[in-house]
Symmetry: C2
Subunit: 409 residues, 2 copies
């Protein structure tokens, strides 16, 4: 008998009929003797319907009142799901965020969870009930309703699992797990039985479509095993957990991530002086543009080339800023392109396996793919290549690191 927290998103509870199906899935766990806490989002479309109402009133709504309004979305879902569970003979009771209570700070619309008093939830579990909790919302110490911002239901589920010391936190989605890479690019992509929190975070470009990164960080911090599952299909999904050092068959590489939505900017002939990196990147950051990879070559003739990547949408703005900077600091030509892609290999196994990066470069070289930039972390190697090579690169690496074959972890 385990204690499981299960989270169903807006699409999974988008209609009364889907809520019935979710209730039946929960009933299976309850029948197996598990204690179940369920976290749900607003029915899909509901939050947007509410935002549209507010927009008819004002374009600058008071944040406190937005939260009062938007929090009703999940409140409707918890009531409907509790009804659906009771209808099929599973005793269930609903809790709003304030009723749990999930205490947050007072940053309306993007509040952070401060603490959870789990005693009322635990009392209902002990009384044999499934507890249905509204995701995405909490209450501050003044008693005001807060929301955690969009996608915050994952965070609610992980925080509740941590507070309750749950055995697992299930995140139900529209995919049946985390894959070695995007199956649309590599049909041989495998569902991973298991992946570490760190790997999941590094696989952001794949993972962010499945899980909110903030909830993965949170789960890692509190060591809550996360399982990604399909809402309406059977299957074990993918378990996201801590690095299991004992695992003999740990693969070197867990997955191949890629991102087409980056652009590259280069400023040449930069005087090689202390503080020059800040002079270049400071104005970019000041314009709220996120910088991803940064590469600076060793100087020649007292000048250096400086290259970095930003999101595609920020490219024009960043280029403009950089051209102004080039004049300021007496640098040379500014160049850039959006026709690039980043490809990354991710795996905790590379910590103990030197030479992973060169295997990567070898595989790309075999396909005559030129590498434009390289960046490494402890468990990731990323390269920037011309955008047209992205599929070829991902497939070559997927094969080279043995991910095509079926494997067990």
């Amino acid at each position: 008998m385990a204690l499981i927290v299960q989270k169903f998103g807006g699409t999974s509870v988008g209609t009364p009929e889907k809520i019935q199906r979710v209730a039946e899935k929960i009933a299976q766990f309850s029948a197996a003797g598990d204690d179940v806490v369920v976290v749900v989002s607003a029915m899909s479309g509901e939050t947007n319907r509410l935002l549209a109402l507010a927009k008819e009133i004002t374009t600058k709504p008071i944040a406190r009142e937005m939260d009062v309004m938007v929090a009703t979305g999940e409140q409707v879902t918890i009531a409907l799901l509790a009804m659906a569970l009771n209808r099929i003979g599973v005793p269930a009771v609903s809790f709003t965020g304030a009723q749990v209570p999930i205490l947050t700070d007072s940053e309306h619309g993007k509040a952070r969870i401060l603490s959870i008093n789990e005693s009322s939830v635990r009392a209902q579990l002990q009384a044999g009930k499934v507890v249905v909790v509204a995701g995405f919302q909490g209450v501050d110490e003044k008693g005001d309703i807060t929301t955690l911002g969009r996608g915050g239901s994952d965070t609610t589920a992980v925080a509740l699992a941590a507070a309750l010391r749950a055995d697992e936190c299930h995140i139900y989605t529209d995919v049946d797990g985390v894959y070695t890479t995007d199956p649309r690019v590599v049909p041989q992509a495998q569902r991973l039985e298991r992946i570490t929190f760190e790997e999941m975070l590094e696989m952001a470009s794949l993972g962010s479509k499945i899980l909110q990164l903030r909830s993965v960080e949170f789960a890692g911090k509190y060591n809550v095993p996360l399982r990604v599952l399909h809402s309406f299909q059977e299957g074990p999904g993918t378990l996201i957990t801590t690095d299991d050092e004992d695992s003999m068959e740990q693969p070197i590489i867990s997955g191949i991530a890629f991102n087409r939505d980056e652009a590259k900017l280069t400023i040449r002939g930069v005087p090689d002086r202390p503080g020059v990196a800040f002079k270049i990147l400071g104005p970019i950051s000041a314009a709220n543009i996120d910088i991803d990879m940064i590469v600076q070559n060793v100087a020649q003739d007292n000048t250096t080339d400086f290259t970095f990547t930003v999101g595609n949408l920020d490219y024009d703005k960043a280029l403009e800023i950089l051209q102004a900077t080039a004049k300021d600091i007496g640098a040379g030509e500014v160049a850039g392109t959006t026709s690039i892609a980043k490809v990354s290999i991710v795996g905790v196994g590379m910590r103990s396996h030197p030479g992973v990066a060169s295997s990567m470069f070898e595989a790309l070289a075999k396909e005559n793919i030129n590498i434009q930039m390289i960046s490494t972390s402890e468990i990731k190697v990323s390269v920037v290549v011309e955008e047209k090579y992205v599929e070829l690169a991902v497939r070559a690496l997927h094969t080279a690191f043995g991910l095509d074959a079926s494997r067990k972890v």
Copy 2:
């Protein structure tokens, strides 16, 4: 400077545009220096939309969860109205029933208010804010959300006004006040400046379309002056208050009420024995049929005729029960008809003016209207007449008691 509680129903806040207009009305009072607490219902249609969702899940929803769901209707309105007020420069803050808190018993769907802790509302008023409270809902001592049942927003407003010792409680509606009778029947009907709680209760057949009777009772009990006003028109409305003994110009009759939705049943030849009334009416009440007027004539030949009225919708059921009872007790013929109407004259003035009933009978006799039943209370005389005479009777009485003329109270 007064403290006013204002209540706007679902139709008055049915669209964002109407919510803006309500905000502008509230702003007038706020600008005049009044402290304002506003109670609002769910936007019209919203409660039915939610009930339809629940119906898709189950026909026997858990009452606790229904309240969790239905309470979101008002929660959306309070947020939107607070936004609308802030937008036009009127500082405002919203409260759910639980946030006030409005403590109720645990009878979900028809909870009764036990107490209101008004200190947080008062603190916000003192901070210069308009306080917008969700009507129709509260919280029980377990922290569960409760609802007061349909129409409960009036009760919320009156209860808040009592707790805050407000100067007046304004109920905004789609009429501009309480009339001496239905203006569709008597075009000369006058808006009353003032009416007593008792009269308002006796005028149920008119008043129930405007105000929830329960809230009038409540207002009378706690002596909260109620004012009925039009949501979107200017005007003083009608003040419902305690009997003002000092008023010299108190009219004898304040209004003429009528009800077409009653049916009459008669059982003849009832043996004149103690307990026979209970034998006749007991089975009717046991079938959850409300009995209105009851008339029993003095016995002749040791038998008596026994007549009572019920709602039209219960007529067939009541007739069936009565026929069975007649056999049981050895009574005679059972007769009945739905072609009747009840016409009542209402006024606290009749306490000090004997002869009002005979003036009524005289007015009806002049029009050749036969009276079938008579029933009196301290401030009301009701008669049952053939249904086809109802308009004629109401018009005749309206004229006879001087209500056609314009008057001041």
